[in-house]
Every structure is written in C-alpha cells, then in structure tokens.
Symmetry: C2
DNA sequence: TAGTGGTCTAGACCACTAT
DNA sequence: TAGTGGTCTAGACCACTAG
C-alpha cells in the first residue's frame, strides 16, 4: 500500500504527489521510457480527484522529467543532456546541482545611485539607491565566473550585514526578506574576456567567455535584481530545457 | 459586448481566450502594469467555467506576458528585455520574431550512417541512417550562423526533395510529416570560431562565437533532431524567459 | 467585507491508441 | 472495447489583500 498524503500539510496535494513521483524517477524505480501511473490511477491511489493528479504530472512534464502521449500514457523521459533545469536558480544552487562546491570572493559591495541604464533595467528612477555587488565565483575552489549584481537598496537595506562570501544572495532575499522570485529574463552572448575580469578568472584577456545578463522579477512583477555574470568558456555551459508553450 | 468564443472550433476554449488576451496586450489595449480581467470575470464574460479561464491565464504567465499576485489580481508584465520567448522555434521563426528576414545557403545534405555520438544523442543505434544537413544561415542577407543538423532518416525519408534554402526544416517536419515537437534540451557555450565555419560567417578564425547545441524531442519522447548552431557573437544573443517551476 | 488567485472535487465528453 | 490524456463544468474552501 501507498503512504497516504498529508492533508494537513501546507504543501499542496499535487506538490506532494509530484515529489513522490520525482523521487521514484530520480532513484530509478521507474526506468526511462517506462510508464508513470496514469492520472486516474494516481487519483485513486492517493485519494484525490483526477484534476489534482493531473496537476502533478503537468509540473513534471514542464520540468522535462516525463513526456505524455495522448491515448497511451505518461512516460519517464530519456534524458540525453544532463539538464539542470535552471529553474531560476542562482550560482550557488547551480553549482550544487552540478555536484560542485560553490564559494565566492567578495570584490566590492557598496551603495550607490543607479545609473540611467541600471535604473531602466530595475524599473526604478535614475539616482535611486542600489547595492552594487561584485564577486568572483568559484567552484571546487577554482575560478568559474565573475558576477556583478545590482539590487534596489529599498528591497534589502541591511545587505551589508550578511556574509556574501559564504551566503547565497537568493537565500538572503527569499528567506530573510520574504522576497519571492517569480520569473526572469536572460540574455546570453559570447564575448572576449575584458582585461580586468580575465585577471580574476585566471584566463588571458580576450579569451572567449559566456556572458549572461539576467533580470529577476518578483511575484509582484517588479525587478529584484540585475546581474551580469561572465563565465569562463572552458569551464561552463548553460543548459536549458525548453517546452512547447500552451500547456 | 464581447465576441463570443467558437465552441465548435478545434481550438480549445482556453486557447481562444488566451489568444484574445494576448492580442489586447500586444496592441497595448491593456498597458503594462494594468490588470487583466480576473478569472471570475473572464469566466462570466466568455461563459466558461473558472478553471477554463484560469488555464488561459496560466499559459500567459508561463510566457511571461502577465504576472499574478494572490489576493490582488493578474497584471500585464512590464517587459525590460525584448524576450522572444524562444518557445522551441527554429532559426527561421527566431529571425522573423526579431524582425529579420531569414534565408539559407545549403552547404551539404547527405544520407550517412550515424556515428556513435550522433546515435547517442538521437537515441538510435550507431550505423542507422541519418540526414546530415549543413546550412549557412542569413538574416537580412548577412551571415548570422552556421548550422549542422542530424535527423533520423526514418523520420523523413524524402528530405532531399525539399528546398532547404527557402523552406523551414521545422515546418517540413511538422506540417508535411506530422511530427510534433514537444520539448528540447539546449546547451549554450562560448567558443572560438573554427577556421572553416569562420570563413562562411565572414569573421576571423578564433573570433568569439556562441555555440548552441540542441536536441529536440517529439511528443512520443523520441529525439527528432540534433542541431549545432554557431552564431556570430557580434550579431546574435540568445534570450530566454525563465519561470519558477510548479505552476 | 468583498474580491483575488490557489487548490480541490466529482463528475463529464472527446479524440486517440492498442488489443 | 478499454484505457489514456485533453478539455470542461459548476461548484467549493482557503489565504491573502484592499478599502
């Protein structure tokens, strides 16, 4: 028999089902290509309506863990690329998902007035106060990326009190300030490493680098931060899982 | 009064509502930051249940067009980056969305036996027949990318009969062969342009390029194609819209 | 208090696939 | 024919936010 769901939990039922299925897939209990229980079977097994079971499967498909075939069933996807779905995680979590230990070296942290460009990116007025943060990002102790963040000072006035060499900015914003990230726009491009950043990254100036510019939005639709991350091209690849829209 | 939905159409009701809202947003009839009709209002206005209206709004959020705040409402997102959501489109459609005219120069198209690596990417046996396609991709007549595709020959045995300089591979697969793309894994990295591709792209060998490797999966979970696209770094940026998972 | 989005129910019909 | 996923209904309760 199946362990029942916790109906008093704050975790929605569909999320609990999703989590159970995700575990079974991760542990290999359901092999790639093998069918996942159908919506109706999940509904019966866990004592929920079919719409609830369906919601769990939809989220798994969104993450690329399963694919669905109408009239046939839902199956565990055969992953080719090792996709760390990049569901809006920061550098620390990204590295952990890749099995690497993240760390940082603080280069700069100061309050300053937003330039026209930064203000436009963050949707605030030019001249408003922002935190300007620069960190060298390491994975297993070796330089991986150079990251520059701009965060509206009003969102997190006490940012200077945290240890940004060890702590995760996203963790601080999310857990300490209740700022929930909802979505982000990312632009990726290839470039030559600028002299200054190249020195920190221990590469030659002009070497190819992957530049990722990201603006993160909160659940109120307002920008939380603007980040530019310069990755060593020889150490980093960005991975994505794309799905056809209209669920 | 509102134009009613077409209940006999093959287009689902939620997709029709989604389309109407998308138009209103695109035309600027609902300004960024302004509220979209609530789920209950859409339900009443179009004579559908709330769950159906909800499905329309969910898809719009997934695309980053709106954001939702519980207890308050749904609002048109204030886009900072011009995101062409890259919902699994090919080069042709990508360029069109950027307002550029795509064209191609066919470099090679031949049947060959899949190497170990290509076979692994496509999930077929090494030695099985694949089409090997190479094209120089142009936007408004200037070189933008060099693209190499591998497609299992069994999927589209008559590929050679199409004009791959003018036609879209995705269109051929989708419309002529009923192969529906469902998802894809993408890996992006920065690199130096190899000599051969650099010549086609009219750049110096060693210049930075953005290399995008993509494996596309159909709705049966099987790989449809493996593509490697080398973009000129000075002409192309890849844009993405990321969302927090669990809808 | 009224309105919102988030979750959930217990059904229903459909097109599709495999047997 | 039986089972699947896709769509849809007409309700419900909840936590949340605003006035």
């Amino acid at each position: 028999m199946e362990r029942p769901l916790d109906r008093n939990s704050y975790v929605p039922l569909y999320a609990q089902i999703q989590q159970k299925l995700r575990q079974m897939i991760d542990r290999g209990e359901i092999a790639p290509g093998a069918p996942v229980p159908s919506e109706r079977e999940l509904a019966e097994r866990y004592g929920v309506s079919r719409m609830t079971a369906r919601q769990a499967l939809r989220a798994l498909r969104q993450d690329g863990l399963v694919y669905r075939e109408r009239g046939i069933g839902t199956f565990v996807a055969r992953r080719k690329v090792d996709v760390h779905t990049r569901n809006l995680v920061g550098f620390s979590e990204d590295m952990r998902q890749r099995g690497l230990a993240p760390s940082s070296k603080l280069i700069a942290l100061r309050r300053e007035r937003a330039t026209q460009q930064v203000a436009a990116e963050l949707g605030i007025a030019a001249g408003e106060e922002v935190f300007h943060l620069e960190r060298l990002r390491l994975a297993d102790g070796t330089p991986m990326a150079y990251e520059t963040n701009y965060i509206p000072a009003s969102l997190c006035p006490d940012l200077e009190t945290y240890d940004l060499e060890r702590d995760s900015l996203y963790r601080i914003l999310e857990e300490e300030h209740g700022i929930r990230m909802q979505s982000a726009d990312e632009v990726l491009e290839a470039a030559r490493a600028p002299r200054r950043e190249a020195r920190y990254l221990s590469i030659r100036a002009g070497s190819p680098v992957l530049v990722v510019h990201r603006v993160v939005y909160g659940d109120n639709g307002r920008a939380i931060e603007s980040v530019r991350t310069i990755y060593r091209a020889d150490r980093y690849r960005a991975t994505f899982h794309l799905t056809k829209n209209t669920l």
